[in-house]
């Protein structure tokens, strides 16, 4: 079980976020769900790079080669991903604010301008 649990948790988080996104009645809530979706990618990437009994590849307080280390590449990827997530959240929230002003609502069910 242990050897797939982290991956399953990542998949679960992604699908949960998608469910929330699809059924949301409030656009701010939807953006929050999108952030949840994204956190699944962090979990997956870091789980992929983990190694049993290893430690972080940061050698400020560790002699190189004294202990096995986990994969640094996925950590760098996740860092990039977190920045992307935060900025996308901010940008989408800015759009939601404008929707609230122009449409007077943040309920996607009431946004009925673009169709057909």
């Amino acid at each position: 079980m242990m050897h797939v649990l982290p991956y399953l948790v990542a998949a679960y988080i992604f699908l949960t976020g998608c469910y929330g996104l699809a059924t949301s009645r409030n656009l701010i809530h939807a953006i929050g769900c999108l952030a949840v979706c994204q956190s699944s990618t962090y979990v997956l990437l870091l789980a992929v790079g983990y190694q049993d009994g290893a430690t972080a590849p940061v050698f400020s307080d560790l002699r190189p080669g004294s202990r096995p280390v986990v994969d640094p590449v996925v950590q760098a990827l996740t860092l990039t991903d977190i920045v992307v997530g935060a900025t996308v959240t901010a940008l989408l929230l800015a759009l939601v604010l404008q929707i609230a002003k122009r449409h007077g609502t943040v309920d996607p069910d009431e946004l009925r301008e673009l169709r057909g």
Partner: protein, 590 residues
């Protein structure tokens, strides 16, 4: 020479950063000239690199050359298709910047260069995506491209539809990008590599003689979901009409002209480099998946395109229909198909950007892009009328436009009944554009009746993008579409251009086979046939409107485009499942 490749990204980004840094001190004209110069310099760089792209260049950013075949750096690819896309992106950005010359009424206070800076960042992002040879790097530039595109789409914050369309765009594309990242994570777990070529080799090595397994299928589905969302394939396409109909016209030119096509390019690149080996997805499954989705896309979007009255939305659906045709073309996995699609994309970019530019003229002159209310009002705009009609004929594939050459080559490559899809989809979408031309610019036919008002977006009562309604159309707004159409024409008639494109595409992929590209009699006849069909459809719609009103069976189809972001997300999940199901047989069989 290959050291210059990353500058395709760095130069526009540096231009954007400097514009923001000093933009509020510059007069507006200086900011615009800066943008023009930077964009032009990038275009020149892309063209120079393109001319030197045989044999294909490879650059390891940061000088991390592979040691014993292994590198820790990021690889950037400078082959014909990559640099060709970068050049196309840059030239079209240049055209869009020229079109928007002194265009928006008031740039945000204290941020005079903001629009130009965002356009430059968009250009840099698209160039970066085009030349990416590393899967994660492709994701990063994919996101940069998306983020700038969201901001540009919602640029007119006074417009309620614009901000809604931008948000839909943002949510659906971000979700697609996260799916793509999950796929990248799975591929990294299997192969421990990020460079596309190395991942492909890793998959083959891991599969041994066993063929692909569920993990390969899942990563294929997830990565392609991200790319197909960008390419707006059915059922991932819902965001596109909502976003393209509301974005500022210069942005539409880029979105429809190249960004969507970059999604198709991404599919081609990723399949060819990562999944084409024995450990990847078998060719038959890819063909089944892409041809099915592509045909569905072309058919759905052609029908939807026909029933639009909002002119920009109509053009957006025509983009979706043509993307479907591109997907079919690359889906058959033949060198001729790749060459044809490459030419088709180049020709389509010119024609579609020109059509959007003309729609922008209508918007700024009359404050409306509604076919019904504009009926006969634009008789005075003779030049624009001619351009719009020529664009429609080019879209239909009238020889010798570039679109026609590309379409003819692709049709020959796909062969069989799929040819009918090409003829029908291009005829219907071009017929709709011709119908608009006849009604709006010539005032032909009776004034159409409004119907189904709960099912459609009208396009009347829009805010113009310029300072007030234009009384006179500036020269830039007619010169730019004219030049774009001329370029699309030149693609078809330029001696040897087709062969040049074909050679550089085949050198980069297509298994080394080399196809030659030239006009053939069946190709010309098919092009003439679809043009004739388009003219007939357009004429019929204008003279006998009740023959071509929406039939009842089209209503559910139109109702699907509900403007509700939750629906679109549900469709995205559904699309991923369908994609998985279409590619499943090969995995089960292996």
């Amino acid at each position: 020479m290959h050291h210059l490749l990353p500058l395709l990204v760095a130069v526009p980004l540096l231009g954007a950063a400097l514009l923001v840094a000093v933009g509020h001190r510059l007069p507006r004209i200086a900011a615009e000239i800066t943008g023009f110069v930077v964009s032009g310099a990038t275009a020149a760089l892309a063209l120079v690199l393109l001319l030197n792209s045989s044999p294909p260049m490879v650059e390891w950013v940061g000088g991390w050359l592979p040691v014993g075949g292994e590198s820790v750096g990021i690889v950037v690819v400078g082959d014909g298709p990559a640099l060709g896309m970068a050049a196309l992106v840059s030239l079209l950005t240049l055209a869009a910047l020229a079109y928007s010359w002194r265009y928006f009424e008031e740039p945000p206070r204290g941020h005079r260069g903001a629009f130009t800076a965002l356009m430059l960042a968009f250009q840099g992002a698209m160039c970066g995506f085009a030349i990416a040879g590393d899967l994660f790097n492709a994701f990063v530039f994919f996101e940069l491209m998306s983020v700038t595109a969201y901001a540009l789409t919602g640029y007119r914050i006074d417009d309620a539809k614009a901000v809604q369309g931008a948000l839909t765009f943002g949510v659906v594309n971000s979700l697609g990008a996260y799916a793509m990242l999950l796929g990248i994570g799975l591929l990294y777990a299997r192969t421990g590599e990020l460079s596309m070529a190395k991942i492909g080799r890793g998959l083959d090595a891991a599969a041994g003689h066993g063929g692909p397994d569920a993990l390969v299928l899942a990563s294929f589905v997830l990565v392609l979901t991200g790319l197909l969302v960008k390419a707006a394939a059915v059922p991932f396409h819902f965001w596109l009409p909502d976003a393209h109909a509301v974005a500022p016209t210069p942005v539409c030119m880029l979105l429809s002209g190249v960004m969507v096509e970059l999604g198709v390019y991404g599919v081609w690149r990723v399949y060819g480099t990562v999944f084409a080996g024995p450990g990847g997805i078998p060719a038959a499954d890819l063909t089944r998946a892409l041809v099915t989705l592509g045909t569905l896309t072309a058919a759905t979007a052609a029908v939807m395109c026909w029933y639009q009255r909002h002119i920009k939305r109509l053009l957006a659906y025509s983009t979706v229909a043509h993307t479907g045709l591109f997907l079919v073309g690359i889906g058959v996995l033949t060198p001729e198909g790749d060459d044809g699609v490459a030419l088709y994309i180049i020709g389509h970019a010119g024609v579609k950007a020109a059509l959007f530019a003309c729609a922008g003229v209508l918007l700024d002159r009359y404050g409306s892009v509604d076919e019904h209310t504009l009926h006969g009002r634009a008789r005075e705009l003779r030049t624009t009328a001619v351009l719009f009609a020529v664009g429609a004929l080019g879209l239909a594939g009238l020889p010798p436009f570039g679109v026609a050459l590309g379409k003819a080559v692709t049709e020959e490559a796909v062969g069989g009944p799929l040819t009918a899809v090409y003829v029908a989809a291009s005829a219907i979408t071009a017929g709709a554009v011709l119908r608009v031309t006849a009604r709006v610019f010539l005032g032909l036919g009776p004034r159409p009746q409004d119907a189904d008002s709960d099912l459609e977006t009208s396009g009347a009562g829009e805010e113009p993008e310029t300072a007030g309604l234009l009384s006179r159309i500036p020269d830039t707004m007619t010169t730019v579409p004219a030049l774009l159409l001329a370029a699309a024409f030149a693609v078809g008639v330029g001696p040897g251009f087709g062969d040049l494109v074909a050679r550089s595409v085949n050198e980069a992929g297509s298994g080394g086979a080399h196809a030659s590209v030239h006009w053939t009699l069946p190709g010309v006849l098919l092009g003439l046939a679809s043009t004739a069909l388009a003219v007939a459809l357009g004429g019929l719609a204008v003279t006998r409107p009740h023959w071509t009103t929406a039939p009842d069976w089209a209503r559910p189809l139109r109702r699907l485009q509900s403007g509700h972001v939750g629906d679109y997300v549900a469709w995205l999940l559904m699309g991923a499942t369908v994609l998985g199901a279409l590619a499943l047989p090969g995995v089960l069989g292996g």
